[in-house]
């Protein structure tokens, strides 16, 4: 780990074209994410956000380009990178017939936790997110908000250095959203770098320290929300900036 380098993720000319696709999903993007940032990767549907995050998590290899995570090459040191990252996918990735405790015990074990450490982490997070009482119930009996919260815990149980959040608050009520955002900020304050995607511009504006707007696999702009708003004449919030840059045409 190189502490003199403020960036925890460096992406150089990243490209990815899926089989049978006519256009690249990611078309030569380069950017860096600094340690302890809450970095928003924003864009309309099909912009290339999920593809970028999937590559960074090691789900599939890039077509070309280079990615360094915490100074390690994604191509050659994927296994050790996987120890320091956590992911909260957009879709609920839990076993519905298992309880929250059973789900978390399994996922925590897959990150290498076991014994007392695993149990303590599970109980601490269940308590934090108000799930202790329901922890032994099957996840299939949970509300959407409760499932989101368990989904979040499964990604942070091992205290990752970098956390990828793919629309973590989609489809949840205001109460659950506030609890989730609050605890994500707490995680960030504890040193976790957060990479976040969302269609919720107001949430992104308040939550992110820096954002990058991409479309058609290319970066349109990046900076702090305040910088982007001031740079785009007539824009009073991030949603205006987003619509000005990506235009108002409907996307698939």
């Amino acid at each position: 780990m190189n502490m003199s380098n403020p960036a925890i993720i460096d992406i150089y000319d990243l490209k990815k074209t899926f089989k049978n696709a006519t256009e690249p999903a990611v078309n030569g993007i380069s950017f860096s994410i600094n340690r302890n940032e809450i970095f928003g990767l924003l864009g309309p549907n099909g912009a290339g956000k999920t593809t970028t995050i999937s590559i960074l998590c090691g789900l599939f290899p890039p077509g070309s380009g280079k990615v360094l995570i915490d100074g390690k090459d994604l191509h050659t040191e994927l296994h050790s990178i996987k120890h320091i990252i956590g992911i909260v996918p957009q879709d609920i990735a839990l076993y519905p017939t298992l309880s929250a405790r059973e789900n978390l015990a399994f996922y925590g074990s897959m990150y290498g936790l076991h014994g007392k450490q695993l149990q303590d982490n599970i109980e601490r997070w269940l308590h934090k997110l108000g799930l202790t009482e329901a922890a032994n119930r099957k996840v299939s009996t949970y509300s959407g908000g409760m499932k989101r919260r368990v989904n979040l815990i499964a990604g942070v149980l091992h205290s990752p250095k970098i956390l990828f959040l793919d629309e973590p608050t989609v489809g949840v009520d205001v109460q659950s959203r506030n609890v989730i955002i609050e605890h994500l900020k707490e995680l960030n304050a504890g040193g976790t770098t957060i990479i976040y995607t969302s269609h919720h511009m107001e949430e992104a504006e308040n939550f992110c320290t820096r954002v990058c707007i991409i479309d058609h696999g290319k970066i349109l702009t990046q900076g702090t929300p305040a910088e982007l708003i001031s740079q785009n004449a007539g824009s009073t919030n991030l949603e205006h900036v987003f619509l000005n840059l990506t235009n108002r045409k409907l996307r698939d």
């Binding site: 090691g58 996918p89 879709d91 990735a93 298992l98 990150y111 499964a154």
Partner: protein, 427 residues
């Protein structure tokens, strides 16, 4: 790594225990299958044995041949003989009609003058022999016994029955010929009156002793239980492919695989966890089926399953079968893209492999082409192995080639799954 494997095993056990339908498929269905199939086959066998094959007998001869065949058939447990139809004496016409309607499986018509014809033929033969005249074939009368057969009866079964009947009728005919011959000789040579009166019995110098060529110590008797329990247990073990492939696909559709691929745990270890659990399930299935064969079937009036001489052989072969079955399930789960697809792909391929493997119909009655194809079914390897243990009294050495083939199949399935999974991730 051990903690991870144990956590995966625990997760699989919990998932399995909470899937009530899957569990019933794994345990209740095979028990039901063994009970139903064994009872059907045993009762079919018993109904023939206890009541006998329904045979209508028409004696137009009313002499020695007709009477002796009738007496012989009446004393045979295999045959349920009737000489009347609807309380009227059977005629060749009414017998033909009754057999064609399925009221009797077989009909036997002894024509009028059959005994007289035999006697006449013997007389002609004796006279020719004594007088030294050449044989005159045209003077010999032929005896034509008609065997009527129900057209819907199974050919292989009928062949066995009619062949037995032909053999018996021929025996009676020979007996009459000998008796007639003996009488004729006694009349022509009076000083030979004290010659043995029953030369037929003395002519029976060949006797048949049918013994099962098993190396077991005489305790294994081939029956519906010895055949059915291993066959349907193997079938059930391979049916594990359906819940196993479903479990793999559920992880894909419910998003768990997405998360698992981002974790520092090799996918192979996750699959290993599944294999460990499902192999254990297969072994439990097998033990349950053995218990059914040994303890439950005798309560239903069926013979108890005899396990043969080699427990080590049973363990090796069962484990190899369990691995082959789980390997197959992993491949189905990897190749299929939806659970619906996996269910169809899994069940159809198992039905096909079991049919080819001799589970439904023994491979030795198959045409040569199918028999050759059958040799490539893992269910056939397993079944052959269990027959060696349960019917031929084989040992672990005897089943080793079958077990090795099953293990090679397991590794081949794992290889295919690995390559298919790798290809799928190369998007």
């Amino acid at each position: 790594m051990l903690h991870k494997l144990l956590a995966t095993v625990k997760k699989e056990i919990l998932l399995l225990l909470r899937d009530k339908v899957g569990l019933s498929v794994l345990f209740i269905m095979p028990v039901a299958l063994i009970l139903v199939m064994t009872l059907i086959q045993d009762s079919a066998f018993k109904s023939i044995n206890e009541k006998g094959i329904p045979v209508v007998f028409v004696d137009e001869d009313q002499d020695s041949l007709g009477l002796q065949i009738k007496q012989g058939l009446l004393s045979n447990d295999l045959v349920y003989l009737s000489d009347s139809i609807d309380s009227k004496p059977a005629s060749s016409q009414s017998a033909k009609k009754a057999v064609s309607e399925g009221r009797f499986l077989v009909g036997i018509v002894i024509p009028k003058g059959a005994t007289a014809a035999i006697r006449k033929n013997v007389s002609v033969l004796v006279n020719e022999t004594m007088n030294g005249t050449p044989p005159a074939a045209e003077t010999a009368d032929s005896v034509q016994i008609t065997i009527l057969i129900d057209p819907i009866a199974k050919q292989s079964f009928l062949n066995a029955v009619t062949s037995n009947l032909r053999e018996f009728i021929s025996e009676v005919k020979t007996k009459i010929m000998f008796q007639t011959f003996s009488q004729q000789v006694a009349e022509l040579i009076p000083d030979k009156q004290n010659a043995p009166r029953n030369p037929y019995q003395r002519s029976q110098i060949i006797h048949y002793n049918e013994v099962y060529a098993s190396t077991a110590t005489g305790k294994i008797v081939p029956n519906a239980v010895q055949h059915n329990v291993p066959a349907w247990t193997i079938f059930a073990m391979f049916f594990i492919a359906i819940p196993l492939s479903n479990s793999i696909l559920k992880e894909k559709t419910e998003g768990s695989v997405f998360r698992l691929h981002t974790m520092p745990t090799p996918y192979l270890l996750l699959i290993m966890g599944k294999i460990v659990v499902y192999v254990l399930v297969c072994l439990l299935q097998f033990m349950l089926m053995l218990a059914v064969g040994k303890f439950l079937l005798p309560q239903l009036g069926l013979p108890a399953l005899v396990l043969g001489n080699s427990m080590a052989g049973i363990f090796v072969l069962t484990t190899a079968t369990a691995l082959a079955a789980t390997g197959f399930g992993v491949t189905v789960g990897t190749l299929a893209t939806t659970d619906h697809q996996a269910a169809i792909m899994g069940s159809l391929s198992i039905l096909l492999l079991s049919a080819l493997g001799g589970i439904w119909v023994p491979s030795y009655v198959m045409p040569e082409v199918m028999r050759n194809i059958s040799a490539f079914s893992p269910l056939n390897w397993s079944l052959e192995g269990f027959y060696k243990l349960f019917l031929r009294g084989g040992t672990v050495t005897d089943i080793l080639p079958d077990a090795i083939k099953l293990l090679v199949f397991f590794f081949a399935m794992m290889g295919i799954s690995y390559l298919a999974n790798r290809k799928k991730r190369k998007v």
